[in-house]
Amino acid sequence: MRHYKILSILVLSFLILSIACSKSDEDDSSTSEITYNQSQTEDINQEDSSEGTEDDQSGNDNSFDRVKMMTFITEEIIIPSYDNLNTSLTELKESYELFKINITEHNLEELRNKWLNSYKLWQHVEMYNIGKSMEDYLIFRSNIYPVDTVRVNQNIDNGEYDLENPNNYAAQGFPTMDYLLYGIDNDPVKVIDHYKENNKLMNYLGALIEDLAANVKTVNDDWNQVKNEFVNSVDNTASSNLNMMVNDFIYYYEKGFRANKFGIPAGVFSGGALPDRVEGFYSKNFSKVFALEAMTSIKKFFNGESYKDDDLEGLGLKSYLDFVEKGKEELLSDKINAQLIDAEKSINDLDNNLSGQIESDLIKVLKTYDEIQTAVVLLKVDMLQALNIAVDYADADGD
């Protein structure tokens, strides 16, 4: 008979659990019967009223519409950014064809402009290392610097190379084009001579442009295909798209933006400055432009601002944070925005030629780095705590 008793109590407790789930704890208030009754009625009231509010998706005080946020970010920020980059790369291909047929200073200038435009647009997609982009190693194939010039010249001479080989990551993409368009000689006339004399050089540049454009197009097409499915994955698990995207954003800010663009060339991690490690080293005058573009994309993502229409604001991390922090006096999102603006100002004060700036006045670059760094703490510690986002690696137990 005893087994029966055990069994029935076990079953009973499971029942209570499934009914009471969120409120089972107050069962403990057997010590005070009154609290127990009160809380139970309160919970019932909550359940009743929840039916009414759940239909009303927007403007609900109690829940934040994460799908809506993901939809805005995907449709108004990510996809338009890719569309633009895609178009620009098509133009880059066209101007290459012109240049190939007619190797003139003017056509070189056109080619360089299209490259610059595409590289600027690239700054808006680099942070989304997710889905197809991650699968295809798009970032590694597009923006690894410094350039491995030895490898580049080998590839040109051989005329045979596998761009998917990781050893060739530093011999392709925007940085290598920077080298091929500016780095082979300071004088544009001489650059033209190189292309006139060396057909292999011309072919390598063409192959890189072709490859990059194809890679971006694949990812762009994929985004259009998966977007509906993508925006619905908003669970708080390490593998949900929402969490991966937030983690990617922070990772990009810390590595792709802070370390690659400023920290490493300024020697923050090495003890001595490495001015040849800047982004756009060979064209010299665009490092700052790229960094400012990247900052714009960071701010847009954080605040949920449309890529094309500056006035169109939707749901972004800022609104998510404000929802979690409602009732607080000092909003974290304000703090983050203020810090991003300080960092932007500091970048603006630098020379266009970051490499030259590092050599002439390193302190100024280090100060900029510190401004950028301050926001890392806010994003990585304060924001992740407030949102309690599950992180990629913590699949071990906690207690």
Binding site: S22, D27, S29, V377, V381
Partner: protein, 431 residues
């Protein structure tokens, strides 16, 4: 039970991830001599698993429990990154069991020795019960603080982030009142459960609460085996009749595998061969229990906020009390030339280690010394290691954690107060 835990650990590939991959392990103070054994660690897990299998069978009990205790504890000592209260619970429990003849009544040892004992000294049972009481008691006391009761932190953060929980996630879990009810409920639970389990009348009610509470935590939080361990452990509070019933059921289940009962000499009382050895056992167990009462209280001797500096936090049954995140970078400085650079933590630490390191002072100090040694060998002269460290606790904004000007190489880990930790900008009242 523990066998399952070991298998689970293995299956998840955690052995490799936690013990073999890292180039560096964070050691417990006083246990720096423990090494990771390289790939021999699999052997250790096998030993640990086998010993727990023998424990289940009750075969060669004494040897099995000692081996289990040693191997399990050794594994835990390799790297304190993986510190969990329930692993510590298992270690201490198995340590106590080393001195207790838990094989006395129903085990294969009975068939081996052809003796079964009808009763064991009350003290053995009491000792395990009092250990569990201690655990609940300290866990309850620790919840008596202003963050837990007045701010409902960290549960506010944790529960509202469970918005994807079926049915309740999007509405009830977002309600402040839910967070308060859970905080207060958890506190009352921890403080009252030992008494409920001890009282004969309320025992079933108490045990029902144990099941509900621990299953709830198992659903809500990533806390692994802890809930199940606690549920089973609390069975020790039930009467001997209750356990005989279970055993009777098991005996029935395995009837055809068990040798004939009749050959076993039934001895009424284990007390019969009471001798000086047993008395030693009693005093050892008492000592363990007394240490368990005193050790969690050591935090009293440290000034400042316990949650902030965490001196006296571990091994004190402070469970699920803090949402703490940090960000810590190390600067390697040549104090003569003033040249300095930052370390990439991920060159040395796994992400899990980095996460744990970034807000726990003893981790920060240990890693600083490791970096100091590493870069000294690499030829950095007049080396200083400083940190830029920021920590946020229970929903507060982050603040600087370690004095950034201080050379951590000037300090060694000890039980003395760590003065290089900057004071906490807020106050948490309570225990």
């Amino acid at each position: 039970m523990m066998l399952f835990s070991i298998i689970r650990f293995w299956a998840k590939g955690w052995i490799e991830k936690l013990y073999i991959d890292p180039v560096f392990h964070f050691k417990y103070y006083g246990f720096e001599w423990v090494t990771d054994l390289g790939s021999n660690i699999y052997l250790l897990f096998i030993i640990c698993g086998l010993s727990s299998f023998f424990l289940i069978l009750g075969l060669y009990y004494r040897a099995a429990i000692i081996i289990f205790f040693l191997s399990f504890t050794y594994i835990e000592l390799i790297d304190k990154t993986t510190y969990l209260n329930h692993y510590y619970f298992v270690s201490i429990l198995s340590l106590i069991l080393c001195f207790i003849p838990a094989n006395a009544y129903f085990s294969l040892d009975n068939f081996r020795n052809k003796i079964t004992y009808r009763s064991v000294p009350r003290f053995y049972i009491t000792s395990i019960q009092s250990f569990i009481v201690i655990v609940y008691f300290f866990a309850g006391i620790a919840k008596l603080n202003s963050d837990w009761l007045i701010e409902a932190q960290p549960l506010s953060i944790w529960i509202s982030s469970k918005y994807d929980f079926p049915i309740f996630g999007n509405y009830i879990f977002q309600k402040k009142i839910t967070h308060y009810l859970m905080s207060w409920g958890g506190m009352f639970y921890d403080l009252s459960i030992p008494f409920l389990l001890l009282s004969k009348r309320l025992r079933w009610f108490g045990f029902t609460l144990v099941i509900i509470f621990h299953l709830l935590t198992a659903f809500l939080f990533p806390i692994g085996m802890f809930p199940y361990i606690m549920i089973l452990s609390s069975l020790i509070f039930f009467s001997a009749d209750f356990h005989k019933n279970i055993i009777g059921y098991l005996r029935h289940l395995f009837k055809q595998f068990l040798p004939d009962n009749s050959k076993i000499k039934s001895q009424i009382n284990l007390r019969a061969n009471y001798n000086s050895l047993k008395r030693t056992m009693f005093s050892i167990i008492s000592l363990i229990i007394i240490i368990q009462v005193i050790f969690p209280l050591r935090y009293i001797f440290y000034p400042g906020e316990l949650f902030w500096h965490e001196q006296g936090y571990r091994f004190s049954w402070r469970v699920m009390l803090m949402e703490k995140r940090g960000y810590t970078q190390f600067r390697i400085i040549d104090s003569v030339t003033k040249k300095q650079f930052y370390v990439n933590n991920d060159e040395f630490l796994t992400e899990f280690q980095e996460k744990q390191m970034s807000f726990q002072p003893d981790f920060i100090l240990e890693f600083a010394h490791y970096l100091g040694d590493f870069y000294k060998k690499k030829g950095v002269e007049n080396i200083k290691v400083c940190t830029d460290s920021y920590v946020a606790l229970n929903g507060r904004k982050s603040q600087q954690f370690v004095d950034p000007e201080i050379n951590l190489l000037d300090y060694n880990d000890s039980f003395l107060n760590k003065q290089w930790i900057l004071p906490f900008n807020d106050e948490i009242k309570g225990f």
